[in-house]
Structure formats: C-alpha cells, structure tokens
C-alpha cells in the first residue's frame, strides 16, 4: 500500500479547492478586472499545486504547472500583457491542469503529449516575451537574465555566484529549513558560506520566533543561473534573496568586507527593531482546519441525542416543585439553554456558502455560450449565503440544469436579440438569499420568456390537459415542469433530451423544496426555488392517531380544523370531502391508509390537517389530535430497514420513541389507490353513516371540478 495515501488525499482535496479558486479568479479576470491580486491569487494556487506535485513525483503535472506558473509570473509583473487571448490561454491551461490533477488522483497515466498544444503556446509566449523584456530593461533583473544567458552559453565553464540570503521569520513558520537549502547549494558545486550576524540582537532582546541570521554564499558551479535560483524556489516569498554573477576579484572583496563587518555591528539594538518589521507582515494565522465529514456527522448525531435526552429530562421533571429543588430546576433550565446553543453551533459547522456550487457556473456558461454561439453575461449574487452541506451537494444538478435551460431555451440568438431591440449580450443571473428559514435561489434571464401558445398546444397534444380547459398564464408557465414535456423544436445536446424540468422539480421536491417559474413574454423568465437550510432537522407538527404519534412537515401544513358535521360530504366512489369556505377538499384518513386501530373514525369528532402539495393541491389529513409543534431531527429508516410507503423518514421524540414522518404525497396516492380498489357499497358500510350523501348531480359536478383541478396540476393520481 501507499504510505503517503493520507497525504495524497489531503493534497487532492486541497487541489480541488485551489482549482476552484483558480476558476473563480479567472472569471474575475475575464470580466476585465485590473486588480493585481487576482493574478497573484491564481499564481499562488498554481504554485501550491506544483509544489505538491513535485513532492509526490507527479512529473507531468509538476512540469505543466511549472510552465503555467512561469506564464502567470510574467503576467503578474507586467512583462506579458493580460490580453483577452492571454486569458483564454489561462482558461485552457487551467482545464488541462484540472484534467491532470484528476488523472493523478485516479492514478491514471496520460499520454506524454497530453496538453502539449497549450504547453507549446505557453512556452512560445513566455520565451518570446522574455527576450524582449531582457533587452528593454536595464535593471538588476536584466543583468540576471543576461547572466543566465551567459551561463547557458558556456555550460562547461564554472561560474561564480554571489548569493545573499536573508530568511524572514515566515520561512521558519512555513517549516522550511535553511540548512537543507545550504546543503542543496553545496551539491551544485564548491560553496563558501559566510554567516551574517548583523541583525543578531543581544540575548536579552532575542525573540525565539524571529530570524536573525543571514548568509552570503559564494558558489562556484557549472550550474545555470536558473538552476541556482531553483534551490530557493519554495522560500522566495519568505526571504530576501539576491543572486548575482561575480568576477573572481569582486568575490574576494566581498569576503573581505564581510569578514570585517560583523563584530561592531552585531550588538546594535536597532537591528532588533528592524527584525521586528517582517513580523507584522507575517501570514495571517490559520483560521480553519480540515475535518472529516464523518466526524461531523457523528457529532451532529450525538448532539441530536443530547437534545432528545434533555427534552426527556425536562418532561420528566416538569412537575418538580421549584421551591423544593431550586438548584435542580435552575440547572435543568440552563441545560436546556446550553443544549439549544450547542445544537445551533453544531449545525453551523455544516453550513457552507453556496459559492462552491455557484463558482462552477461561469465555466458552464462560458462553454455553453461558445457552443450555442450566444453572447451571455452571468451575474452571481449572494454567493456567501450559507446552507447545510447536505443541501449543497444536492442543488448543483438542478441549478446546472436550469442554467442550461435558460441559455438554450430562454435566451434568443444574437440576431433575434438585435431584431427585438435588445442588447446583443444576454444576461443570466443567479442569486441566493435566506428568507424565512429557507434558502431561495433564483435564476433569471432576459430572454424571450415562455412561448405560452406553444406550451399550451404541446400540453393538449400530450393529453396533459383537456381540449376545453383554459388554464391561467401562470399555470401554463408551470406546465414546463410536467413529466416528458419539452417545447424545443429540435433536441439539442445542450438541453432538451427529454429528461427535463420534471426531473429538476422532482429532485427539488425530494429535498423538501419547491420550484416555480415566472415569465414575461419578450422580457425573460425567472426560476425560483426554495429549499430547507438543512436536511438534518425539520419543523414538524406531531399528531396522534390511535395511540401512535406521527410527524407532518410544517411547510406542508396550511391549517388545521375540526370540521362541522354538515361540512362533510361523500362522492359516490367513496371519496370523502370537506367543504371549507365554499371549496371541496378531499379527505385522507390516516387510520384508514395505515390501518391503525382504535383511531377516531368520525371526522367530525377528529381533526383535519389541511396540507398542500404541488403534486395534488390541497388535501385534508384526518388524525385524532394535534400534540404540538417541534423541531425534529430527521433519521433514516432505510439505514437498517427498508423504505416504507407513506413515510419519508423518522424522528425520535422527547420520550425516546421513534415517530414516523409522513410523506403526504405518498399518503394521497395510497388513499386514491384504496379508493379505486374498494367498491362504493363496502365503503358506505365502513364510513359509519356520518357523511351526507351528495345528490348525483352535485357529485358529478364535483368530480368534474376535482378532475380538472388535477389536470391543471398535471399529475393524475396513481
């Protein structure tokens, strides 16, 4: 086995982050940013990737990143201008870099000339411009380049290098060791080293973390200039370095000078002050650590347990007389406070900015717009909005799909835009914000909007609605979420492969979210999706039926009520209805669906919880009573059992007992299925005779209205 597997894993995790950074910064650059920090950031990221690649001996990756870095280096100090063409090369280079990192991670071997094209391009630019720069400049830099050329010209002859090397405190903080550098220098040739103690303060003033000693090296070597420079590669930012090529006489002078100097200067206190200066520039303290997700999950689980234990304790002791046990009662109150705070902080650990998803979108847009021949600007807003890690993982696909959809179907072609009197470049924006304990993500474009006539005719064609139905504009717009619906005249390889917005909607619903669309013809469309901030906890209403407790997700609940006897009706097929404010709402009795014994059979004696779902509209769930509202920790049933129809997950109540969380859409489907199976006559027997039978005429009208309402929602039950 690979002894370094663990380090490699860390390296690749870091690479993924660094490549993400590169991506973000490149997008910034492509929008014409002049901020030098952008190039510096890209440079640092590529440099770090290179350093790791070198350490793990990923030769190809190291070689490529070296060239990439060289190009960036010249761009950041202005020797190569940052042109549009240059940025595009950077983009392609970063793609190659990602591919190489990926193949290194999967231990695959790439062909030796992988990425050669771009490499050649980079080399051409770098080499081409370097000579130019060297000719123009008259500074020490150019003399160094000149020396380099000189050294290259006569590789066999020995060159004398004078190296002034003064480490800063950061060098040690970054775990570098001057001794190793000196040894490496020594391996290049004949080395004479002189320690320069000028900065050394008296012992009493010495700071253990400071760097006081500098060195002067005289190296006699056949190595080229850049080979000598490379020895200091990893410490260039953390030291003062000056490498010059000397003639033999000059070297002698230097040695003499140094030999004389130190004694009288060493004791000067001012040097301590000088040495203090770099300390201020020290790199910002490390403020984050990398933690395995499993460990966090375990922590979250245990805190969940603690919360349950705490609520159990407070339930058990709620009738404790506080005058008799004042300390006990106060202690329990504090415990409740602290557990709540603990739970909040633990949940906060898992919160991450949506940036990790948003940052992938500029690239998607760039690629797609090139493929589609449309000019598009992407704006992202609120990328620091935080959401639970579990949600982050799930929203990437829906967002990608909606962006594809906006670019492909939403935005018009450049010609059409000009014809419509719009700016040539289309705008797509994606934003995230917190609203009412949920995250709202909107994706909008300024394209042509939804072609309602086309959608309507397609819906009729597919039999999704009846020929006579006249849905509202909003209803038509939301038909694009119907299964198997696609209005694109031709199937493109960008989107419109049949798996369309219906999959997007289903995935979002599976997360407890909603998605809708608003569209203005000629002006554009806007997708709005709202999601819970976390998939680990949920607000639930605890209800009881026949002695068992169940949880209904609060977001689904509209209201709850005890229906009046005369508001209960029944259709000939056995479907029970409740009439509320003039509307007939189908009922679904929990005890019937789950065959619970000892439940209240008569809805007039029981409670009806009205729940809403995008799939079937409003329905009433009949339960015995409401117990109360509570935040519940969501637990999987599947990890040790199998999925159960009608139940989405489970939770643990204050008394330590398990309570199932109802999947109301599945409940509705089961109740509809049961309805089709049982004959009306047997149903009449079971209903206990409390319901008023409707006249056939009214019943017909009602079933018609229910049917049309299901049509509008485009989901026929079953």
């Amino acid at each position: 086995m690979d002894d370094y597997a663990q380090f490699k894993a860390t390296y690749f995790a870091e690479c993924a982050e660094l490549l993400g950074d590169v991506e973000t910064q490149l997008s910034e650059l492509s929008t014409g940013s002049q901020d030098p920090e952008v190039l510096h950031a890209i440079f640092r990221a590529v440099h770090s990737i290179k350093a790791g690649a070198g350490a793990f001996k990923y030769v190809q990756l190291a070689a490529f990143s070296h060239e990439f870095e060289a190009l960036l280096d010249r761009m950041r100090d202005g020797r190569i201008a940052v042109t549009e063409e240059g940025v595009s090369i950077l983009f392609r280079a970063s793609d190659i870099l990602s591919a190489m990192v990926e193949s290194a991670e999967n231990e695959e071997t790439l062909t030796p000339d992988f990425g050669k094209e771009i490499l050649d391009e980079i080399t051409f630019i770098v080499k081409g411009k370097v000579t130019e720069a060297a000719a123009e400049d008259d500074t020490a830099e150019s003399s160094a380049e000149g020396a380099q050329n000189e050294a290259e010209a006569s590789p066999d002859s020995q060159t004398l290098y004078h190296i002034k090397f003064a480490p800063k405190a950061e060098l040690f903080k970054h775990a570098n060791e001057p001794l190793l550098i000196i040894r490496e220098l020594k391996s290049l040739g004949e080395l004479k080293s002189i320690a320069n103690l000028d900065r050394l303060p008296p012992l009493s003033k010495m700071d253990g973390e400071e760097a006081y000693i500098a060195w002067d090296f005289i190296l006699k070597s056949t190595s080229r200039f850049d080979e000598v420079e490379e020895v200091f590669e990893f410490v260039t930012d953390d030291c003062t370095l000056d490498i010059t090529v000397e003639t033999a006489e000059a070297v002698e002078d230097v040695i003499e000078k140094i030999d004389e100097a130190p004694i009288d200067q060493a004791a000067q206190p001012s040097s301590a002050a000088n040495a203090g200066a770099p300390k201020a520039q020290a790199a910002a303290k490390v403020t984050s650590i990398r933690v395995d997700l499993d460990r966090i999950d375990r922590l979250v689980n245990m805190v969940g347990e603690l919360v349950i234990t705490q609520s159990m304790l407070s339930q058990q002791t709620s009738d404790l007389p506080s005058e008799q046990f004042p300390n006990m009662v106060r202690g329990l109150e504090e415990l409740a406070l602290h557990t709540r705070e603990l739970q909040e902080s633990v949940m906060a650990i898992r919160m991450q900015p949506v940036k990790s998803v948003f940052s992938r979108m500029p690239r998607l847009v760039r690629e797609l717009s090139a493929k589609l021949g449309k000019k598009v600007t992407l704006t992202t807003i609120g990328e620091n909005t935080e959401v639970d890690k579990t949600v982050i993982e799930e929203i990437s696909d829906p967002i990608t799909h909606m962006i594809r959809n906006s670019l492909d179907h939403g935005l018009e072609s450049t010609e059409d835009r000009i014809a419509a009197g719009k700016p040539e470049t289309g705008n797509v924006s994606i934003s995230a914000e917190h609203r009412g304990g949920r995250i709202v993500i909107t994706i909008s474009d300024d394209g042509k909007g939804i072609n309602r006539a086309a959608v309507l005719s397609r819906a009729r064609e597919r039999g999704l609605i009846t020929e006579t139905a006249t849905p509202s504009d909003e209803e038509i717009d939301n038909m694009i979420f119907a299964p198997g619906f696609s209005t694109a005249e031709k199937v493109t390889d960008v989107s419109g492969r049949g798996v369309g917005m219906d999959v997007v909607r289903r995935n979002i619903q599976a997360l407890g979210g909603r998605v809708s669309i608003q569209s203005t013809p000629g002006k554009g469309s806007r997708f709005t999706m709202t999601l819970p901030l976390t998939l680990a906890v949920m607000d639930g209403m605890i209800v009881q039926a026949g002695g068992s407790k169940y949880v209904i997700p609060i977001p689904n609940i509209v209201e709850s009520l005890r229906p009046a006897k005369d508001s209960l009706k029944r259709l000939p097929n056995g479907q029970k209805l409740v009439s509320i404010r003039g509307e007939y709402i189908p009922l679904c009795a929990l005890h019937e669906v789950f065959k619970i014994k000892n439940a209240i059979e008569d809805p007039a004696q029981a409670l009806v919880v009205l729940v809403e779902s995008e799939e079937f509209g409003t329905t009433g769930i009949v339960v015995d009573e409401l117990i109360g509202q509570q935040q519940v920790v969501i637990k999987s049933l599947e990890s040790n059992y199998r999925p159960v129809l009608g139940i989405s997950a489970a939770t643990i109540l204050g008394n330590g007992k398990v309570a199932p969380i109802l999947d109301i859409e599945a409940l509705y489907r089961i109740s509809q299925k049961n309805l089709h199976k049982s004959s009306p006559s047997s149903n009449g027997d079971a209903s206990g005779g409390n319901d008023t039978d409707l006249s056939p005429a009214l019943a017909g009208e009602l079933s018609g209205s229910i049917a049309s309402s299901t049509d509008i929602h485009l989901q026929s039950p079953g």
């Binding site: 999950d297 375990r298 689980n301 245990m302 969940g304 347990e305 349950i308 068992s548 669906v593 789950f594 065959k595 619970i596 637990k635 999987s636 049933l637 599947e638 990890s639 040790n640 059992y641 199998r642 999925p643 159960v644 129809l645 009608g646 139940i647 489970a650 643990i652 330590g656 007992k657 398990v658 309570a659 199932p660 089961i670 299925k673 049961n674 199976k677």
Partner: protein, 181 residues
Amino acid sequence: MGAAELNTAPISQDQLPGEDTVQHGTQQFVTFAIGTEEYAVDIMQVREIQAWTEVTVLPNQPNYMRGVLNLRGIIVPIFDLRRRFNQGKTEATSIHVVVIIAVNDRIIGILVDRVSDILTVDSGEIRQVPDIDENDESEHLIGLVTAGERMVALLDTGSLFKRDIINTNISAAEEALADKN
C-alpha cells in the same frame, strides 16, 4: 450511521460458518431461547442485549416485525423470532429480551424469551441441518450444535430477514403494499 456508532467492539462482522474467530478453530455463540427451543448467533454479531420496551409500529410492516426502536439515535427494526418461525406472537413483557445484532452493515434486533449463555464450539462439532424440514425453516439455519443435553440451532440471520433489510427501493415496498391489499 452504522456499527461504528455502537461502542461494543466491532472487530469482525463475518458470520461464515467455520470461520475461525477464536483461536484453535473454535467459535463462540450467544444462545437464546423461544420456549424450549434454543437458537444461537455468532458472538461477533451481537452488539448488545436489552430488555423489551415498547416499540413504534410502522405501517404495513411484516407480521413478524414488532416495530422500530431508537438505539442511541439509530433506528433499529425489531423482529419477533417466534412469529418469524410461525409459532405465534410473543406476548412481550419486560422480562423478554431483545438481542441487537449486526447483519453485514445493518443493525437489527430479535425479540426472544431469554438469553441462555455463551457457547464455545469446536468448528468440527457443528452438524449439518438434516434436510427433512417441510416448512422451509431449516434454510435459515447454518448448523446444529449439541450442548450437553440440549440441541442449539445456529441462525443464519442474513437470510432470515433478507426481505426486510435488503430491499432498498420504494417499489419493493410498494409491491409489498399491493400484496397486502
């Protein structure tokens, strides 16, 4: 989730017959009883043993399942071994025992009358189950062991509750529902 959360030592979850989990080719089993019949599972599978407490009934659960239990944050299904072997429902009281075992990466509980003892058996002493069983129960046994005067049947827990803990898709659950209606 899973075995790692339980603080009993999860050394090995193998339960193959004849696998040497103890030195010198011996294996240890935890034995428990339903009435006068004795059964056993490999000691390495057993996570803990606890007294019966009320469980939460799930809709459409198989008749031999009692419900689910909260085991320190993990939801664990509890099966009635007597009912599983079609010998009627166990009238569970607080002196009845639930044996929590690991079956591959899943944790389940079996309701039994009582736990007897730990049996150390030489692999050579495990006898084949005679193939004369008419109600297919023997296919869930991996062997028979004689302990003094008693006969102990070694359970193959994986096959015993295969239907309930292996089905991972909802369509299987839906089928189960359709079967019932």
